[in-house]
C-alpha cells in the first residue's frame, strides 16, 4: 500500500487531539499537516498535494458544514469528520454536504487508522472498475447481474439489486439514508425512508448468515448504512 507517501491534513483546534491523530498517522507512515482553524485548513488544502482531510466539526471560526461546502466546490479530496457522539444530525448534514466518513470521539488508534486506510484505498482506486465482489458466502458479478450464495443463484428484485450495487460501489464507506434513497429510488423520495429500511432488511434476509446480527450490511444508527466485506 502506498500510504507511505500519503499526506493528511488534520483540522482540529485542540492540540492534544491533533497530536494523537498525527502520532497514529506517523505510525502508518503518513505525513501529517496540523492546522488549528478552518481557515488554515482550507489554505493547506489549497496548496495541493493532499490525500485526506480529517476535520473536527466543532471548530471555533467556521462550522464544519461551511468548511466542507467550501472545500467541495474545488476539491474532491476525501474528508473524514471527527465529531462528538450523539451529534448524529450534525454528522448526517456533514456527510450529505460531501464528507466521506465519520468517527465518533473518543476514538482509538485502531479505529482511526482503519478508516483512514479505507478512505485512502478508495481514493486511489476510484478509477478502477470493480465488477466482482465476494463477502461471506456470497458472490456478486455486477457485469452479468448475477448474485449467488453458496454456489446457488439468488433472485433479487430490481430495487434489491440496485441497492446492493450501490452499497458495493461504496464499500467501506458510510452512506446516509438520504444518499441511498437518492441513488436507488431517485430524487423526490425523501419522506419514504421506511422503504430503505425494509429493503435493507430483505437484503439481509437473503444475504446474511444471521440477518439479526449482520456482518456486512451494517447499520450506522441515526446516520445510514455501511457495507463491509
Amino acid at each position: 500500500m502506498s500510504e507511505a507517501k500519503a499526506r493528511v491534513i488534520i483540522v482540529e483546534d485542540e492540540p492534544k487531539i491533533r497530536r494523537f491523530v498525527c502520532d497514529a498517522l506517523h505510525r502508518e507512515g503518513c505525513a501529517c499537516i496540523e492546522t488549528g482553524t478552518a481557515r488554515q485548513g482550507l489554505d493547506a488544502a489549497a496548496r495541493g498535494n493532499v490525500d485526506l482531510v480529517i476535520l473536527d466539526l466543532g471548530l471555533p471560526d467556521m462550522s464544519g458544514l461551511e468548511f466542507i461546502r467550501d472545500l467541495r466546490t474545488w476539491s474532491p479530496v476525501p474528508i473524514l469528520i471527527l465529531s462528538a457522539r450523539s451529534a448524529e444530525q450534525d454528522k448526517v448534514a456533514a456527510l450529505d454536504a460531501g464528507a466521506d466518513d465519520y468517527l465518533s470521539k473518543p476514538v482509538g488508534v485502531g479505529e482511526l487508522l482503519a478508516r483512514v486506510r479505507a478512505l485512502l484505498r478508495r481514493h486511489w482506486q476510484s478509477h478502477e472498475a470493480k465488477p466482482q465482489h465476494k463477502f461471506g458466502d456470497v458472490e456478486v458479478d455486477l457485469s452479468r447481474r448475477i448474485v449467488s450464495r453458496g454456489g446457488v443463484e439468488l433472485h433479487l428484485t430490481q430495487i434489491e439489486y440496485r441497492l446492493l450495487a450501490v452499497m458495493l460501489a461504496n464499500s467501506g464507506k458510510v452512506m446516509t439514508h438520504r444518499r441511498l434513497m437518492q441513488e436507488v429510488w431517485g430524487p423526490g423520495h425523501g419522506e419514504q425512508g421506511h422503504y430503505l429500511r425494509i429493503y435493507v432488511g430483505r437484503l439481509r434476509q437473503k444475504l446474511e448468515m444471521d440477518p439479526a446480527l449482520p456482518q456486512h450490511l451494517l447499520t450506522e444508527t441515526g446516520i445510514g448504512y455501511r457495507f463491509q466485506s
Partner: protein
C-alpha cells in the same frame, strides 16, 4: 332621614322645634300692636322653614301645625282663644299650613340631598384613594393593609380572604384582625363558590353581623372580603353596600394583577434557569469531553507503539485508555440524564424495524458480550415501529451492559421481541444474580444500584435513562426476577406504519 344636627342632639329634635315655636311666639307677642297679622304669619313661616332645615321634616310638620295653632291662639282676634272672628282667617291658616308643609318638605329634601351628595363625594374620594393606593401594591400583604386603612375611614372592620389556587375546595389566606370562626369560614367558602354576596346577621351567629363579598375578578373569583361593622348594626354595612361592591371589585382586580405578575415573574425565572442549564450542559459537554478524547487517543497510541514499549508500560497505558473510556461513558450518561430530566431531548422518530437496533447494539458491545452466550429471538415479520433509533439503541445497549455486568462468564443473555395487541414487547433477560427483591420498585430511579457490592462499576443511571427514553416514546418498562436470573421488559406503541407500494414483477 338626617338633619344638620349633630348626632347627640337628634333625640331632642321635636322638643327643640316646639321650643323654637314658643320662642317665636314670645318674640312676636309684644309686637302685635305694631305689626300686621300678615307679617307675624311670615315670621312663623320663617320659623317653620328654619325648623325644616335644622331639625328635619318631622319636626317641621309638627312646627307647621303648632305655628297655625299659636297664631290662632295668640294673634288672631279674639285673642287667647281658638275661635275665629272672621272666616277669612281660615284661609290664612290653610295657606299658612300649606306653605309651611311645602317649604319644610322642600327644605328638608334639599338638606337631605346635599347631605347625600356630600356622602357620595366622600365615598368616591375614598374609592379613588383606595384605587390609587392599590395600584401601587406589590404584595397581598400590602393589599390587605390598604383595605384595612380604608375600612377604618368608613368605620368597618374587614378580613380579606384570598383563595389559594383555583381548586374546587380552596383554602384561604386570611388577612385581618378579626379571626373568622369555622361557621363564618364555611359561609365565606360558599359565597366564593357561588359568587354571590352572603350576609349573616346577629341572630345567626354570636358575633357581629358580617357581609361576605366575593372578589369577582375578570377571569376568576379570587377570594372573599368579609366586612363587619364595628358596632352591632348591620345596617351600616347595608348602607355602604354599593361602595363595598366597588371596593370588592377593585381588590379582586388588583389580586388578579398580582397573580399574573407573579406568574410572569415565575416564567421569566424558569426561562432564565433553562437557558443557564442549557449553556452549562453544552459547555460541560464540550469541556469535559475534549480532554477525555485526547486521553483515550494518546493512551492508545502508547499501547499501539511500534517498536512496542515494555510490557508493563503497554499494560498501564491500556488501563489508562480503558479508564478514560469508562469516564467518557459515565460523563455521557450524566449529561444525557440531565438533559432527559430537563426535558430537553427531542425525539427524532422514524418508522423502522426494531431488528436493526438489536444488530447495532450487539455489534457495539462486541467485546463486552464476548464471554456471554447471546440468544436473539425476534418474531418474524415484526412491523415497522416509530421510534428514535439513537435513543432506543441506548436503551438496548444499557440493558445488554447490565445483563453482562450482573452475570458470569458463559451466562446466557436473551433478547426477545414480539408484538402483543397494540404494542411491541422487548425483553432482555440474563442468567445471573437477579435484582435484589426489596429494591425492585426502585431500580429505575437514578443512582440506585442493583447490588451492594462495590465491585461492579457503574453509577446506576442506565435503567433510569432507559425509563426516561421508553416513557418518552409512550411505552412502559419493568423489571422482574425469574428463576436463575432477571429480565427487563419494555413496550413501544405500534401505531400504523406507512404503507409501501411493491415493485411490479421485474
Amino acid at each position: 332621614m338626617k338633619s344638620l344636627l349633630p348626632t347627640r342632639w337628634r333625640r331632642v329634635r321635636y322638643p327643640l322645634a316646639a321650643a323654637l315655636c314658643i320662642l317665636t311666639t314670645l318674640g312676636a307677642f309684644p309686637l302685635r300692636e305694631f305689626l300686621d297679622l300678615a307679617n307675624i304669619v311670615m315670621l312663623f313661616l320663617l320659623m317653620v322653614f328654619g325648623t325644616a332645615v335644622w331639625f328635619g321634616r318631622g319636626p317641621a310638620v309638627m312646627a307647621a301645625f303648632l305655628a297655625v295653632a299659636l297664631v290662632d291662639f295668640f294673634f288672631v282676634p279674639p285673642h287667647l282663644s281658638f275661635a275665629v272672628a272672621d272666616a277669612q282667617y281660615l284661609v290664612t291658616f290653610a295657606v299658612m299650613l300649606a306653605v309651611g308643609l311645602i317649604t319644610s318638605n322642600l327644605a328638608a329634601l334639599l338638606a337631605e340631598r346635599s347631605e347625600q351628595a356630600q356622602l357620595r363625594e366622600h365615598e368616591t374620594r375614598i374609592l379613588f384613594e383606595l384605587a390609587r393606593d392599590l395600584g401601587s401594591a406589590l404584595t397581598l400583604g400590602q393589599v390587605a393593609d390598604i383595605t384595612q386603612h380604608f375600612r377604618e375611614s368608613i368605620d368597618l372592620d374587614a378580613t380579606l380572604l384570598v383563595a389559594d389556587g383555583l381548586a374546587a375546595k380552596p383554602s384561604f389566606q386570611e388577612f385581618g384582625h378579626h379571626r373568622l370562626t369555622e361557621l363564618e369560614q364555611n359561609i365565606a367558602r360558599s359565597a366564593y363558590l357561588s359568587n354571590t354576596i352572603a350576609e349573616t346577621d346577629s341572630l345567626a351567629s354570636k358575633d357581629a353581623a358580617i357581609a361576605f363579598l366575593p372578589l369577582n375578578a375578570p377571569t376568576h373569583v379570587r377570594g372573599v372580603l368579609a366586612v363587619m361593622p364595628r358596632t352591632d348594626d348591620i345596617s351600616s354595612v347595608r348602607l355602604h353596600r354599593p361602595l363595598l361592591e366597588s371596593v370588592a371589585l377593585l381588590v379582586a382586580i388588583i389580586i388578579e394583577r398580582l397573580h399574573y405578575a407573579d406568574a410572569a415573574r415565575h416564567s421569566e425565572l424558569q426561562v432564565a434557569a433553562e437557558r443557564l442549564r442549557t449553556s452549562i450542559l453544552s459547555s460541560l459537554s464540550h469541556d469535559l469531553r475534549t480532554p477525555l478524547t485526547s486521553l483515550v487517543g494518546l493512551a492508545d497510541v502508547l499501547v499501539q507503539r511500534q517498536p512496542a514499549l515494555p510490557e508493563d508500560a503497554v499494560e498501564t497505558a491500556g488501563i489508562i485508555r480503558d479508564q478514560a473510556h469508562a469516564m467518557h461513558h459515565l460523563l455521557s450518561n450524566l449529561l444525557d440524564m440531565a438533559r432527559l430530566q430537563a426535558g430537553q431531548i427531542t425525539l427524532n422518530k422514524a418508522w423502522q424495524p426494531f431488528d436493526e437496533i438489536v444488530g447495532s447494539s450487539t455489534r457495539l458491545l462486541k467485546t463486552l458480550l464476548a464471554n456471554r452466550t447471546l440468544e436473539i429471538d425476534l418474531a418474524r415479520d415484526l412491523p415497522l415501529v416509530h421510534f428514535d433509533a439513537v435513543l432506543l439503541e441506548r436503551v438496548v445497549c444499557n440493558l445488554l451492559e447490565n445483563a453482562a455486568k450482573y452475570s458470569e462468564d458463559g451466562a446466557r443473555i436473551e433478547v426477545q421481541a414480539h408484538t402483543r395487541a397494540a404494542w411491541l414487547e422487548v425483553a432482555v433477560c440474563n442468567d445471573g444474580c437477579g435484582f435484589p427483591e426489596e429494591r425492585m420498585k426502585q431500580v429505575f430511579e437514578p443512582f440506585v444500584r442493583g447490588t451492594r457490592e462495590p465491585a461492579v462499576a457503574g453509577t446506576g443511571m442506565g435503567l433510569a435513562i432507559c425509563k426516561s427514553i421508553v416513557e418518552a416514546h409512550g411505552g412502559m418498562i419493568g423489571a422482574e426476577n425469574r428463576p436463575g436470573g432477571a429480565c427487563v421488559r419494555f413496550t413501544l406503541p405500534l401505531g400504523t406504519p406507512p404503507s409501501m407500494e411493491e415493485e411490479g414483477r421485474p
